[in-house]
């Protein structure tokens, strides 16, 4: 359908560099919060991170063990399906490559699972090769609970609901298993550059 022109509408056209903002997105300087329920609060003593599913032996880290792994700074743009994009966000976290190192699996998919019951599915290939992290710091500070602390996934090349907040583990799966938003109308893969917001996009 040819777009309908809104007479007199100009828009704000904030000066994002060309090619930085995917179609349908606008740049915000705030950091909006989106969650489907109450914010969980898990103490670091009780926190752990597990990789399980299609693996010989599940792998588990306590918070202390997790924080002893090599971590790195990540500066990246993030894109929320609700239309905001935030440029040059600064995170600190551990590459999924580091967590998956030495794990042998036939799995091609993953499901990240979180405190509060949230899940989201991501192909395994989208988590490796320096494209994804488990982040525990934002802008130089410990990650706040409402933004997913103590730790969240950071998969910035996909819409931000794929970056599970309050993440506690990653299940490696042979088949693609749609997660929380993916069964509630949102796209299975979620590439912002192809505007894969909803089912059928």
């Amino acid at each position: 359908m040819t777009p309908i022109i809104s007479r007199g509408f100009r828009g704000r056209r904030e000066g994002a560099p060309v090619g930085r903002v995917p179609p349908g997105q606008y740049v915000t300087r705030d950091f909006p919060v989106l969650s489907a329920g109450p914010t969980p609060h898990t103490s670091l003593e009780r926190w752990d991170f597990t990789i399980d599913g299609e693996v010989d032996e599940p792998r588990r880290w306590t918070w202390e063990e997790f924080r002893a792994l090599p971590a790195e700074d990540v500066t990246t743009d993030i894109h929320c399906v609700t239309k905001w994009s935030k440029l040059d966000t600064v995170w600190h976290g551990i590459r999924l490559d580091t967590l998956l190192e030495g794990i042998e699996t036939s799995a091609e998919y993953t499901v990240a699972y979180s405190d509060g019951g949230y899940t989201t599915n991501v192909p395994l290939a989208d988590l490796t090769g320096g494209k994804a992290w488990v982040a525990f710091s934002y802008d130089g500070e410990p990650l706040e609970p409402q933004h997913g602390g103590p730790a969240r996934m950071l998969v910035p090349h996909l819409y931000f609901w794929k970056s599970a907040k309050w993440v506690r583990g990653l299940r490696l799966t042979a088949a693609d298993e749609p997660g929380f938003w993916e069964v509630n109308g949102y796209h299975d893969y979620g590439d912002p550059w192809r505007e894969q917001r909803y089912w059928g996009d």
């Binding site: 809104s6 100009r10 349908g24 909006p32 109450p38 509060g116 089912w199």
Partner: protein
């Protein structure tokens, strides 16, 4: 109801403005006729797209305030002074104008009478919009599900849908207002931000296992949801929808 709400591709559809109602000095309800609209569930939202003459486009999401009703879709829009899209919607749109919508979107923050209750609806400001769709659906369906709405507004004149809520109050629906910034003379209701004590007074107890829907600005939703968890409500029974602080 999970997984049943969006089937096939959501295409952009022309939507013609059929009416505009000023709800408060900065909030307007815009009614659209969307030919071929496939219907929606109370609580869902739509994406709105505006296109400038040179092809520039801006998209935003708005909750649907109206219950399922043929091809009619109502959005309640707060005018954000420095916003990109909302001032155009509230100030420039006239009856007969067309914009583009796609939806409905979201299969989680939804209610219909078959889900039962009791219902606890907690809203901050224009967060009442998707909850109003539930209240209107409940009334239209003749449902007697026990329902409570706690609506936080700045002042008496900032209450969105005030007169309609007065009419709908009763028949198992209890509407409770709190006015956080200013109160009219003789006001005896709540006059503070929503807190645990207020929620305890207004809400069914955890033993009644209410279905809870909270919508509003992020700090409002965070505080209300946390207070309800602290009061013993199941986190899984609390559904939230948050907006802001992004200007749109």
């Amino acid at each position: 109801m999970e997984g049943t709400t969006v089937l096939g591709r959501l295409t952009w559809q022309p939507a013609e403005v059929t009416g505009l109602v000023a709800e408060t000095h900065r909030t307007k309800t815009i009614a659209f006729d969307v030919p071929g609209w496939a219907g929606h569930h109370a609580g869902q939202h739509v994406d709105v797209r505006l296109t400038a003459e040179d092809g520039y486009q801006a998209e935003r999401s708005y909750s649907i305030a109206s219950p399922p009703d043929g091809t009619r879709v109502e959005l309640t829009v707060v005018r954000i002074a420095d916003g990109e899209v909302s001032p155009y919607l509230t100030d420039d749109l006239q009856p007969g104008d067309q914009i583009e919508l796609r939806g409905p979107i979201g299969g989680y923050f939804v209610w219909e009478p078959s889900l039962g209750g009791p219902l606890l609806l907690v809203a901050g400001g224009s967060g009442v919009a998707p909850l109003m769709a539930m209240i209107r659906l409940r009334a239209a369906a003749g449902s007697d599900v026990s329902s409570r709405l706690l609506l936080s507004s700045r002042g008496w004149d900032d209450i969105i849908y005030r007169e309609e809520l007065e009419r709908l109050n009763g028949n198992g629906l209890t509407v409770v207002h709190t006015l956080t910034m200013s109160q009219p003379p003789g006001w005896t209701g709540y006059a503070r931000r929503v807190d645990a004590e207020m929620l305890a007074e207004v809400s069914p107890g955890p033993a009644e296992r209410p279905l809870v829907y909270i919508c509003g600005p992020t700090p409002f939703v965070e505080a209300a949801a946390q207070a309800l968890v602290d009061l013993g409500h199941e986190p899984q029974a609390i559904k939230t929808e948050r907006f802001g602080p992004t200007g749109s």
